[in-house]
Subunit: 254 residues, 2 copies
């Protein structure tokens, strides 16, 4: 059984952080290559209006779906009409509420936030390395998505277990806006957020400490911190709220 111990979950989130940092650095080695995000410009004959990036994301998710990626709750695809898995993953007992986990899919927002981030991450211009650019884009989006969804599901479940009454109480407020504000206050831990940001800064520094700047582009720690502050942390919290609303209702009615 996967743990709901908050320290264990936090440590797992730390691990996912490293994958995100590595993949952002890999993407930053290529120029912005704006045309890969332009609709109807993939160069693939039957791709319709999809951009090269959207097409790569589609192909990647189709392959991953066949290999069973989306059988674990923390992996949420961008596309809903993906092929069935060709093999069944061994069922592991989950501490999550299945219905609450199914209520969380923040991937469209993650993709859109990432695409706004690319022009800051990459040097302006075009190097013709379109295939590499979108390959790394998709790997980066997947790493960010996994971090956000894993956090949303497991952190929310863990917090719910620590004080189910408080969550049930707040979630039963009939005013959706007041209810969400109160949930946000219940789940926010500013000191933990500051800790995460400090650790991300150290990691981005360390990982690039020995980089040869003749050929490698260095990613500024502040940039990754901004991605965490403006995208990773807030979207994780929105996902937690999605989860908790269903989870708390189950607690009341179930």
């Amino acid at each position: 059984m996967v743990s709901t111990d908050l320290a264990t979950i936090a440590a797992h989130l730390e691990g996912l952080e490293e994958t995100i940092i590595h993949r952002l650095i890999d993407r930053a080695q290529f120029r912005r290559n704006r045309s890969v995000y332009t609709p109807s410009n993939s160069g693939f004959p039957d791709a319709g209006e999809r951009s090269l990036f959207e097409l790569r994301l589609r192909y990647q998710e189709e392959m991953d779906a066949r290999f069973g990626r989306y059988q674990v709750p923390e992996e949420c695809p961008y596309h809903q009409d993906l092929p069935e898995p060709e093999r069944l993953a061994p069922l592991t007992e989950s501490p999550l509420s299945r219905d609450a986990a199914d209520a969380v899919n923040r991937t469209p927002e993650i993709v859109s936030a990432y695409l706004k981030f690319v022009p800051e991450l990459c040097e302006q211009g075009d190097d013709g390395q379109y295939g590499s650019a979108v390959e790394h884009d998709v790997l980066a989006v997947q790493a960010i998505g996994r971090r956000i969804h894993y956090g949303a599901l497991y952190v929310a479940e863990s917090k719910y277990r620590a004080s189910p009454d408080a969550f049930r109480d707040v979630a039963s407020d009939p005013d959706p806006s007041a209810r969400n504000d109160a949930l946000l206050r219940l789940i926010s831990r500013p000191e933990v957020e500051e800790q995460i940001l400090g650790r991300v800064r150290d990691k981005v520094e360390y990982v690039q400490a020995t980089v040869n700047l003749t050929v490698r582009r260095r990613v500024e720690p502040d940039l990754v911190i901004r991605l965490y502050r403006e995208t990773v942390i807030p979207i994780t919290k929105e996902g937690e709220i999605d989860y908790l609303l269903v989870r708390a209702a189950e607690g009341i009615h179930g």
Copy 2:
């Protein structure tokens, strides 16, 4: 035009090093999962004798082929019967000999060396994370392959240009074994190899300096150094010899 300046090539190889290190560390977060390498055991209904790893490599290369990965000479696929690219990459002027580059494909050896390396890289046993294990295996193999082929082609071309007469002379030896030994002596630079190994050690240390050992498995620098010493460096040199034999013959006859 891509440079044939040895310092620029070496700097590019340094960059590829980082990607290799990151991907090995990512794979090492999962157990060995031996069954993913067992033939006829993929769980995919129509996969025949392929293992899950072989199947993932096949799917990945099919996708990458459509996106044009194998249009650049330093990307060599494992499979020869891949789909055509759906879009044409912009042709960039290449400093390489096309025929000589086509003579180099060390991917089967790279895959086989990598699979021998997995049991040392990963903790023994099975964690059921088969999809993740083969996903990271394929990403690691691709990064190693790109490093080796890039080195083989560009370093060989650069060395050839520095002393074409010496290479033509040695390559015309009718005794294949004496000829290859002499080529190997001509291309070997032990002091550069020691430099690479030292740098790899530093990078593996640094990249993991801030790792939380509660949940992340640390990869020993010695392990990556062994992969470089026993696989990356010698296979690169074999690739250089493949290239130089064709390149020098062109120099004589062409």
